[in-house]
Symmetry: C2
């Protein structure tokens, strides 16, 4: 149907015309409609049946401008087109980890989907030290299922090119990634965040470190030109909604075919930045220990599940049955997983730096008011970024990565707990 | 206009309705129409004005079946869609090296273009030992212009994704490449060419050589997932039309975004296979010396021109002005060109093997009647393929490559000239 902006007045009639939504809410029932404030780009409504509030949906609509800035800040509605396509693809690939789609309409830029009422955005709970027992395992599974099953190992080549075609023109959001993750943070740029001591450190180190910058370019080049699999492309602890049992992945408007390691590295980086922040948020290292274990679990689970899927795959574009002997295949798989591992560590390093120096920080650290404390944490992240980028091709196993990070934090504890106690 | 198959009867009226063609041929003039036999897939006509035969065009039309096999062998007309798009792109990028397009119609699967009357297909002339003084230089320039200017170094990112979108669904022909270049020749497969001594050698060596097969898979994976630039994707001496002055590139229906080294390696491989064949075709090594020099010139010219274009580029998706210092940029360029070089050597090795073992051979060797002689040349190609694949990451300069190939041929001269003399 032709585009029109929905509001509380027009939503009931719109939903009443959608049989798949009527199945959830009932027909012609009185609805409670609440606009949810957490959509910066889009309008998001929680809609409940007045006489049975457990029957509910979420409606998300893109407007042709930036919602938080108003109509003077135009922004293409295409972002919702790609979110719809990715969420529909994920409803097929990993229905257990994404909101169920009840209705979608690219022309209307509308998604009507499952209301995740019993789940919280992980990032804010993690700042408070909440443990999510299954989240890392679920994220590892999500990564394996989505990446393997859209790769040349998991799909036949013609079918795969048709899926790629659906995402190839997500160009505006790809350009944001290219610039805000892989370019601006490593140079002087007006868009960057600023904190004097952090800036000074960045100028004295990573912004003039040739090896570091050439590695950043290597990963930018990979993002621009490697189409390993359908990426979520914005997977961080703020796009996870979880509770003690379940984990859901949301907000896939950046979805695009890119390199395997991108989603993996990014989400691990967000666990590590949370780790860094708990030098301030926690009084001891118990939550940090949990975070590191879980970050490693993401990779372990990803690798295990990816290899399981490989064992059971048929219809692969890359590997024809019988092309390799069993021994050759074993060696190939080991090389393949190691290459993904190296790239994941590299992308993790990029994410640590860009979330520290670039416009989009993580609340884990940016929400700390004291600039001096914040800066100590930021510099810790930048040191870790440099360490990981410099060794990303030299460490080959998740255990080596874990001990590298453990030693790093042991040597780079900014001692903030004492400082908090002292003030 | 809606699809209809053209023939000698309907072509005059069709062309009369196209102002851009009338400009070449004149309006309503009597035309001599000759169907050219060399189109296996498509119908190709040379059309001349009867009273002024120097005024001529070529009309190429795809039919929904394989022309050489007839209507019982259906084949999608999409191949012409991608040839049209690539030739139009090349008319912008490298008008000096491709036929000028007078008219194109994707619905009609028709191209009307410049008649290359004074140029010959290079392959057949090279078998006869003809020297084309400018061809290698032109091919190097063609490669540099087309690859650089469609890469992330030569285009802005949004514009580039829109260009990619035009070629992403060239899926049938990509699948042919995946299977016939990167899969079947390295295993037992019914589609393969067969020559007993060659088969025996292949079975005893490359088909059970783990390192070799894993390298082949590496290059297959790159072809499937790396979108460095718009490739011709079928660049060999049979898709070059040349004379003493000029070089034209034709037949770009395989065009697709793929890895830099693919076109470069493939065309060099065809020079080398011609070199191998001249152990039989020539009585001395003078033409072989020319071939090797020219094959190296392709790379040298490609690299030189690619770097010139880089020096003068603006609007790059990959490299923002000011991101690197001059020294850093120098190092980055050296690494970048070396990576293309390694990949080119690798793709060259793939091409040597698949043209020897796969269904599509090169006339340089396949047209030799004596199976025994043919087999000696084929085994020479397979040995060179193995050598180049095993060293593709160890040799870093074109001079190293040249001396590697020179030594190889010195040690692997099959001594056929004597044999010819002896029989």
């Amino acid at each position: 149907m032709a585009y029109q902006i929905l509001d509380k007045g027009s939503i009931p009639e719109y939903l009443n015309g959608l049989p798949s939504v009527v199945e959830v809410l009932g027909k012609g029932k009185a609805l409670d409609i609440e606009e949810v404030g957490d959509g910066n780009l889009n309008f998001v409504y929680k809609i409940r049946r007045a006489d049975a509030p457990e029957r509910s949906v979420v409606l998300k609509q893109a407007v042709p401008y930036l919602r938080m800035a108003g109509e003077e800040w135009p922004l293409s509605r295409d972002r919702m087109t790609f979110e719809i396509r990715a969420l529909l693809a994920y409803n097929d690939l990993v229905p257990q980890f994404v909101p169920k789609v009840y209705h979608s309409d690219e022309d209307m830029s509308v998604l009507v989907m499952q209301n995740l009422d019993n789940h919280a955005v992980a990032r804010y709970r993690m700042i408070e030290g909440e443990v999510f027992p299954n989240m890392a395992r679920d994220v590892g599974d999500f990564l394996a299922e989505t990446l393997f099953r859209t790769s040349t190992l998991g799909m036949e080549s013609v079918e795969r090119r048709h899926l790629m075609q659906q995402f190839n023109l997500n160009d505006e959001l790809c350009k944001l990634t290219e610039e805000f993750i892989f370019t601006f943070p490593y140079m002087e740029h007006e868009s960057n965040y600023s904190n004097p001591a952090t800036d000074e450190y960045a100028r004295a180190t990573i912004r003039k470190n040739t090896a570091y910058k050439l590695d950043i370019l290597k990963f930018k080049e990979l993002f621009l030109t490697k189409t390993d699999a359908l990426l979520h492309a914005d997977l961080h602890t703020g796009s996870l909604m979880a509770n003690a049992e379940e984990t859901f992945v949301i907000d896939m408007e950046f979805a695009y075919f890119g390199p395997f390691g991108f989603d993996v590295g990014k989400v691990i980086a967000n666990f590590l930045m949370c780790y860094t922040s708990h030098f301030y948020h926690s009084d001891d290292d118990s939550y940090q220990n949990w975070l590191l274990t879980e970050a490693m679990t993401i990779w372990k689970r990803f690798e295990q599940r990816f290899l399981e899927l490989w064992d059971n795959a048929d219809g692969s574009a890359l590997l024809l049955e019988g092309f390799l002997t069993d021994d050759q295949l074993k060696e190939y798989k080991a090389n393949f997983m190691r290459a993904i591992f190296h790239d994941s560590v590299g992308f993790c390093a990029c994410s640590l730096a860009r979330r520290t120096l670039g416009i989009a920080g993580v609340a884990d650290i940016r929400d700390i008011e004291d600039l001096g404390i914040r800066s100590q944490l930021e510099i810790t992240n930048l040191k870790l970024s440099q360490l990981l980028l410099s060794v990303h091709e030299e460490i080959h196993t998740i255990d080596e990565l874990e001990s590298t990070i453990e030693s790093f934090y042991a040597e780079n504890n900014p001692g903030l707990v004492k400082q908090k106690v002292g003030t």
